[in-house]
């Protein structure tokens, strides 16, 4: 058997791109890393594997804990992690969702081509930067009352539609049509609502951004046509989440779980894995709060997208409908969702890790936690919006400012291998502190403009240094692994034209 020695951990090769940490010690299930050897080497470089092993100790975790090809060290649960917990006797973990509930990505297609913007990139990036709030204390596109925040939490993108920030087709191209039915605004604290009311329609900082891109490569003509992607066309990619409202909600529940379920927490190796037992009052409340924060994040991205349409109208002096600025799709990559999945079981009814050991299949209701991982349901799945059901759910994987981003479609193998999930980005390689030592924001910006024709504008030069292309893994390799595994299939690649960030 081929093994990979990663210091304290030895991984066994299951097959190409699939590595397993066998169950041992306090692990409830094995852990699997879906990566090439080159990516595994990077994943082994920090505490990712230790955090992955810790994640296998969460109650009710089913089959195996998963690390995606872009996995890296996070807090508690690794980034690029997927854990499916039994919804009857398992748990729901705010730590395994992350602070930025429904951090995610949406892509808008247009009928403009690269030639339409060439020579005007600076004008466009300036206009976007002036009109889309970003950075610390940048305010929001919409600043309302607590009552407005509660309506957003309850109704999601329907609120945006009522207030002329959306059109009906936007809802049809968003997961759950932009509204989580289980949302409970009363489960969100006053503090969280206070933080949210001035941040509706704002990017924030860190790795969040808005990017105008051009389509450079098409890998699947048929699916690309269904998604509205054509070579050389401009698209807009928006990456952000639920802002202070989501961050506060995560902390509120971590603390409440610590006080209420100390016994379960004491048995876990990292306090940040804090989990509420499935069926408990707190699990129900957190689920309602998380779903409400999901709605808030969808509205946040919706307002930024709609404002972008207005900016394009100013810059190009045309109606946005004439420029065919349509939402392709919106994907969440920090989320837990109650989903039904088939799992293989052996003769004793125990869940098995590989199909060849299954004597039959059972459908289980699971809380699928995806922290830095994207849902990637294949063609035919009933939860894929009808617009894309024939070809599979669009998956959007952003790369760095100097690399391509990808559009994938949910792969046929995703349900068997990864509870219907794939990667979410390039994954960080270098710490922020090291990045600031190695790069200077001004140089990074100049290099991108002169060498790659990418126009970057940011509130903070330090953010540009921290997000320099060199701090990220090779997104091409991440996507190659996803495609080879059949969990997310390559459809198209894009390259940045303009980028704004906090």
């Amino acid at each position: 058997m081929t093994t990979y020695d990663a210091g304290d951990v030895t991984l066994e090769k299951v097959r190409d791109f699939v590595w397993e940490i066998p169950k041992q010690g306090d692990m409830r299930v094995p852990a699997r890393v879906f990566a090439s050897e080159a990516l595994l080497e990077e994943i082994s470089d920090d505490k990712t594997l230790e955090q992955l092993r810790n994640a296998t100790q969460l109650p009710g975790i089913t089959k195996y804990a998963i690390c995606m090809p872009d996995g890296h060290q996070g807090y508690g649960f690794p980034v690029g992690g997927v854990g499916a917990m039994d919804a009857r006797n398992g748990c729901l973990s705010p730590g395994a969702v992350g602070y930025d509930i429904n951090c995610g990505v949406r892509m808008m297609t247009t009928s403009l081509t690269y030639d339409d913007v060439r020579g005007r990139e600076q004008e466009l990036v300036d206009a976007l930067f002036a009109n889309v709030p970003s950075g610390l204390g940048g305010g929001g596109i919409f600043e309302g009352t607590i009552g407005d925040v509660e309506a957003i939490l309850a109704d999601g993108v329907e609120w945006a539609l009522r207030n002329d920030w959306a059109v009906t087709e936007d809802l049809e191209h968003c997961e759950d049509e932009g509204k989580r039915p289980d949302a409970d605004p009363s489960a969100i604290s006053q503090k969280a609502k206070d933080r949210g009311k001035n941040q509706v329609g704002s990017l924030g900082s860190g790795n969040h951004f808005l990017e105008v891109q051009r389509v450079t490569d098409i890998y699947d003509d048929g699916v690309a046509a269904e998604y509205g992607l054509e070579p050389d066309r401009l698209v807009v990619l928006i990456h952000c989440g639920s802002r202070g409202l989501g961050h506060q909600t995560c902390n509120d529940y971590l603390r409440r779980i610590e006080k209420t379920h100390a016994g379960m927490l004491d048995r876990l190796p990292d306090k940040e894995l804090a989990a509420a037992p499935a069926g408990s009052q707190l699990a129900e409340e957190y689920y309602g709060a998380m779903c409400a924060a999901i709605n808030f994040a969808w509205v946040n991205r919706q307002l930024i997208m709609h404002r972008t349409r207005q900016v394009f109208e100013q810059v190009f002096d045309r109606d946005w409908r004439d420029m065919e600025m349509h939402l392709l799709y919106d994907v969440a990559h920090n989320i837990a969702k109650k989903e039904h999945h088939q799992v293989g079981v052996d003769a004793d009814g125990e869940v098995v890790t590989d199909d060849e050991h299954a004597v039959e299949y059972e459908t289980r209701e699971l809380y699928v936690h995806r922290k830095g991982a994207t849902r990637a349901f294949p063609a035919g799945h009933e939860e894929v919006p009808s617009a894309y059901r024939a070809v599979g759910q669009p998956v959007i994987i952003p790369g760095s400012m100097g690399a391509g981003s990808y559009v994938l479609s949910g792969g046929e193998r995703s349900l068997h291998e990864t509870f219907g999930s794939t990667a979410h980005g390039a994954g960080r390689l270098m710490s922020r502190t090291q990045a600031k030592n190695e790069y200077w924001g001004g140089d990074v910006r100049t290099d991108l403009r002169e060498q790659n024709q990418v126009y970057v504008k940011a509130q903070s030069g330090a953010t540009v240094a921290e997000e320099a292309p060199g701090v990220y893994k090779d997104v091409d390799e991440v996507v190659r692994v996803s495609d080879a595994l059949g969990i997310g299939d390559r459809v198209a690649r894009t390259f940045p034209v303009c980028n704004i960030k906090g």
Binding site: D46, T48, H72, Q73, G74, Y75, G76, V79, G95, G98, Y99, D100, G135, L136, G137, K191, D194, R195, N198, Q199, G204, S205, G206, G244, H247, Q248, C250, N251, L254, R255, E258, K259, D270, K271, E272, A274, R428, L429, M430, S431, R432, T433, Q434, Q459, S460, G461, A462, T463, E466, G502
Partner: protein, 138 residues
């Protein structure tokens, strides 16, 4: 009292020391400020006060830092130049009485820390006083 920003792949960690617990807390908070801004101007904005009570030393540090992030967002200022006093109450709870300089956002080139985390959090007594390690989500 002092702090250092430590390496963390995606986020930022602060390691701090202090002779007394209050000094330790203020040093970690200064680290939180440094994680958001390289160069904080002196003498801009007003000081504000905050008090937090919690069930343990560790949770008090968590709640104190969480409160600072909250105050940042609702006041629209970057809290800097921290001062803190930590006391133990007879009922076993802990309390921090703190103040910070609220530097208006438009006076700084700052970026956002999303939240304090419990991951790898350490608050320990050493020969010289206290040491803490805290990871912040960026």
């Amino acid at each position: 009292m002092s702090f250092e920003l430590r390496e963390h792949t995606a986020d930022v960690a602060v390691e701090a020391t202090g002779g007394r617990l209050g000094e330790l807390f203020a040093a970690v908070a200064d680290g939180l400020t440094a994680a958001q801004c390289d160069d904080v101007p002196a003498g801009v904005g007003d000081r504000f006060e905050l008090s937090v009570r919690s069930e343990s030393r560790e949770s008090l540090l968590f709640d104190y830092l969480d409160e600072l992030v909250y105050e940042r967002d609702v006041r629209g200022v970057l809290p800097a130049d921290h001062d803190a006093t930590v006391t133990a109450a007879a009922d076993g709870t802990w309390r921090v009485d703190a103040s910070a300089h609220g530097v208006p956002f438009d006076a700084v080139d700052a970026r956002e820390v999303k939240a304090v985390t419990y991951s790898e959090m350490t608050v320990e007594e050493t020969d010289d006083g206290w040491r803490a390690y805290v990871v912040f989500d960026v």
